[in-house]
């Protein structure tokens, strides 16, 4: 992958999830988007951004209200901007081995610290759309710190978008919706509330 397209770097890592710091000049990826982390041998791990956070670099220094406009802040207190960073937490859901086999399960090894994080191309998300086993992980073992249904909404939305949105996305969405329906034990109200929010 082209390293200039990396949006950030892994700074905490486990087989369940990792945290990445987003590069200053990269635009922060949205909640619920798919990302991938390739390793040196050609394997990949895939995950969904389940949390985005902006704060101070330095745990000893808290952000405080300054009462300055954005321009005044840039001109008179430029050091403030340098202290701000955005991090994302990624829930790991799938991996691809060196031979190219995709498995919708947790990776055998966590990504290495300082590995680059890339946004997933549409083709990779399409591959992850069926048989939608990743949804099972999201429903049955959600990150306790994240509202599970909101993440499901975002995940289904990215499946829809990756299949072309209005031009062809609906079919993929319906099939994912069916899978989800089974996972939710026919809890129609919950299912409907999720699907209502996708489109």
């Amino acid at each position: 992958m082209d390293e200039s397209e990396a949006i950030g770097e892994v700074i905490e890592s486990s087989t369940r999830q990792f945290v990445a710091e987003v590069y200053e000049d990269a635009s922060a990826p949205a909640f619920g988007t798919w990302v991938q982390v390739p390793d040196a041998e050609g394997a990949d791990v895939y995950g969904l951004i389940s949390h985005v956070e902006t704060g101070s670099y330095d745990s000893n220094r808290q952000a405080v209200a300054l009462g300055l406009s954005a321009d005044e802040r840039a001109e008179e207190m430029p050091m403030v901007q340098e202290l701000i960073r955005t991090t994302v937490r990624v829930q790991l859901l799938a991996c691809r081995d060196r031979e190219g086999r995709l498995r919708q399960t947790l990776p055998p090894h966590p990504p290495d610290l300082h590995d680059f994080v890339y946004p997933c191309p549409d083709e990779a998300i399409q591959d992850l759309g069926t048989p939608a086993d990743v949804l099972r992980t999201l429903v049955n073992h959600p990150d306790p710190a994240v509202p599970a249904d909101d993440l499901l909404v975002a995940a289904l939305r990215s499946v829809y978008d990756a299949h072309g949105g209005e031009a062809g996305g609906r079919e993929a969405l319906v099939s994912a919706g069916r899978a989800l329906s089974r996972l939710l034990d026919d809890d129609h109200e919950r299912l409907q509330s999720i699907l209502r929010r996708v489109l």
Binding site: D58, D71, E76, M77, M79, E82
Partner: protein, 393 residues
């Protein structure tokens, strides 16, 4: 373990002592005001008398009427402000091999523009090395005084380099250091040759600032200096030598012993104002090349919360002699203090970048130990240090 209950009586005593001190100080301040006013009227005669009497204490040298106050001018914009600050890991007698570490930050800000600031720190590991023949001798004993002197020197060295790198054609610049520029603490190593070598190296940097026309200043927060008070005591006849007979209004008591310069200017200066500029008569100044001797003024720094404080700004004489540069220094330091809520913003940023925090310190020692072990050079950690690190139960 600290038993707070057992401190109660002592705190009572402390409280009443503090109340007495404040009461006494208020009366001293009143008296200082009248002596200063008398001094102000005939300041040239006072200065001549000081020069003749050569009092043993450090007495402020007068360059203008001492009760003069100056309002704050507008800070130029855009302006380049550079600052450095340093911290260290002192040598530890309980660890072999002996070494110490200096970490000096570099900050450069282009105020009034949206250009990115420079925020950086440079670590330097020192061990038994050839610094120079003289310094080497002292280095073997590695006292904390020496380490501090070398840190101060590195701060000034990097401040000069940062000024050179951050300078923009046609844009005013100002370099700000933390603490005093008067290196009196160097005297006291019991090795005159080494002291001279250290002072010479420090003043070389001061000279370079002048040669390259980078206005330099330093900021001292809560200064404990008494040079102006000593001058007043000289005038009031409280020292072994005394000044010219002046017309001092009001009672001749109380004596001014124990009063600090900042108490004197506390009553004199309004928010944002600076005092007259004084010259330092510290003996170490004899070793400073002409033009780089240190002058200083006091400044009332306002604060959004509470009273604010009196800070001290030191500048080389060539800056003090140029009213435009002095105004630039005054305006910039004041604006910095306003933005930094009582302390110059660039200096607190420089401090944050220089400071070595506990975990970083531990990380450094671990790395050092691992490297030495891998090279087959096991470091020896004395039992005493180990027992300090891990208290037993």
């Amino acid at each position: 373990m600290l038993n707070l209950h057992r401190l109660r009586d002592q705190l009572d005593t402390f409280e009443s002592h503090e109340a007495d001190t404040r009461k006494r100080r208020a009366r001293q301040q009143e008296r200082a005001e009248t002596v200063l006013a008398a001094c102000d009227r005939r300041w040239e005669a006072v200065q001549a008398a000081v020069e003749e009497a050569e009092p043993r204490r450090l007495v402020a040298a007068l360059r203008e009427p001492p009760a003069e106050t100056h309002g704050a001018p507008e800070r130029p914009s855009p302006i380049t402000v550079v600052a450095t600050d340093g911290s260290q890991i002192y040598p530890d007698r309980h660890v072999e091999p002996l070494f110490f570490l200096l970490n000096v930050s570099r900050v450069a800000v282009q105020y009034g523009t949206q250009e990115a600031p420079l925020l950086d720190a440079e670590p330097r590991l020192h061990f038994e090395e050839a610094l120079s023949d003289h310094v080497d001798e002292v280095l073997r004993s590695l006292t904390t005084e020496l380490v501090s002197a070398l840190r101060d020197e590195m701060e000034l060295e990097l401040l000069l380099r940062t000024a050179r790198e951050a300078q923009v054609e046609g844009r005013p610049l100002l370099a700000l250091a933390d603490g005093t520029l008067i290196r009196w603490m160097i005297r006291g190593m019991n090795n005159e040759a080494a002291e001279d070598a250290l002072i010479a190296r420090y003043t070389d940097y001061l000279q370079a600032f002048r040669a390259e026309a980078y206005p330099l200043g330093s900021y001292v927060s809560m200064p404990a200096t008494t040079e102006v008070v000593n001058l007043l005591r000289f005038v009031a006849g409280e020292l072994e030598t005394s000044g010219p007979a002046l017309d001092i209004e009001g009672p001749a008591a109380p004596v001014l012993d124990g009063l600090l310069d900042r108490h004197v200017f506390d009553t004199l200066l309004d928010d944002g104002e600076r005092s007259a500029t004084f010259g330092s008569t510290s003996h170490i100044q004899d070793a400073y090349p002409s033009g780089t001797e240190i002058c200083y003024f006091y400044l009332r720094v306002p604060s959004a919360v509470g009273e604010g404080e009196i800070g001290r700004v030191e500048v080389p004489r060539w800056v003090a002699d140029d009213p435009a540069l002095l105004d630039r220094m005054h305006a910039t330091v004041l604006r910095e203090c306003e933005k930094g809520d009582g302390y110059p913003l660039v200096l607190s940023e420089a401090h944050e970048r220089a400071v070595i925090r506990g975990p970083e310190r531990e990380g450094f020692f671990r790395l050092m130990e691992r490297r030495l072990r891998r090279a087959g050079l096991s470091p020896s950690n004395s039992r005493k240090r180990r027992s300090k690190q891990r208290p037993r139960v």
